[in-house]
Symmetry: C2
């Protein structure tokens, strides 16, 4: 598995059912959301800006894409929290030139903290995508794998920045609800 | 990772918080349970009986263990269902002589169906334990990995026996609540 194939498999609209386990309180929260993943043109201003921010050349990146999500939680009734359940971010894979199974993933805002972030990704031998992102106050680890072309699982956790304590673990089952019509390779199989 | 190390890491009492996603109905169910995993003596009658049932010799097996669980669901108020949330099973790993990273896992009753079952396991290169079990009417796939010695994640899914449709996906975060005092190697580190 490489990042190009992984992004290609991810393109489309997904209905996500995500449950977060707050480990300390043994409390759980459920979020239903719609996630759109679509190609972004490498010349898109958001891509160019992110390349400049991380001093990455246009030939270093591959398969830039945009992820947009909109969800609702069963838990938080607070208006501000509800608004944060919607967002969009551009993601830029920067594969390691010496090993296509790993690299950096840049994005113009993270989901855990609302700032630009660079994560390190790699693929395991069974095709699981693993992403590690360090923030100021926390670190996130995310594992995503496809069960079949229309179902993917995502397990994430938020750790303290020292990496010792795991605060939150979450599981999302994501089913494809539609393909994006601008991707001819995929729509041909529809 | 091999099965002997994996079982050794699993010995103890775990508090499990498990959420099942019923994919068709987009409904979720939460179960809190206590899971005890303990060594079983290879001469235990349950082990001997299971070896006979599967025509396996005593030198073919390694690290037999017992798993006992007791839980309560937020969903099913039915008395019979509630009772099925408690159970115990003996598990017998039978490693592949030519590859210690895979083998069979025999048990005297499965959790998905109440009959003896043999699953196939293997470890991925990042130490994830993957177990595939075929039942009459369904197939189960389970992935278990340790985040740290006191936290493990378990993702399981039930598929139709043809393997095409995924009916249920579930995620458990399991935190160690106590070590078993009969395991000297582990209690020394406590």
């Amino acid at each position: 598995m490489d990042i190009e194939t992984f992004v290609k498999q991810s393109i489309g609209q997904w209905r996500s059912q995500r449950t977060a386990h707050h480990l300390t309180f043994r409390h759980s929260e459920e979020v239903h959301s719609t996630i759109d993943i679509e190609w972004v043109d490498p010349s898109d201003p958001a891509v160019v800006k992110l390349c400049e921010l991380y001093e990455v050349g246009p030939t270093d990146i591959i398969s830039p894409f945009r992820m947009t999500w909109e969800g609702e939680s069963d838990w938080d009734e607070d208006e501000e929290e509800r608004q944060s359940m919607a967002g969009t971010t551009v993601l830029l894979p920067v594969p390691d030139p010496s090993d296509p199974r790993k690299g950096r993933l840049l994005r113009d805002q993270g989901y855990a903290e609302n700032v630009a972030a660079a994560g390190l990704y790699h693929f395991t031998d069974d095709g699981t995508f693993v992403l590690l992102t360090a923030y100021n106050r926390a670190a996130a680890e995310e594992r995503i794998w496809f069960v079949n072309p229309n179902l993917r699982f995502r397990v994430s956790m938020i750790k303290t920045s020292e990496g010792t304590g795991v605060l939150t673990a979450s599981f999302a089952s994501e089913t494809r609800s539609q393909l994006h019509t601008d991707d001819s390779a995929l729509t041909n199989t529809n």
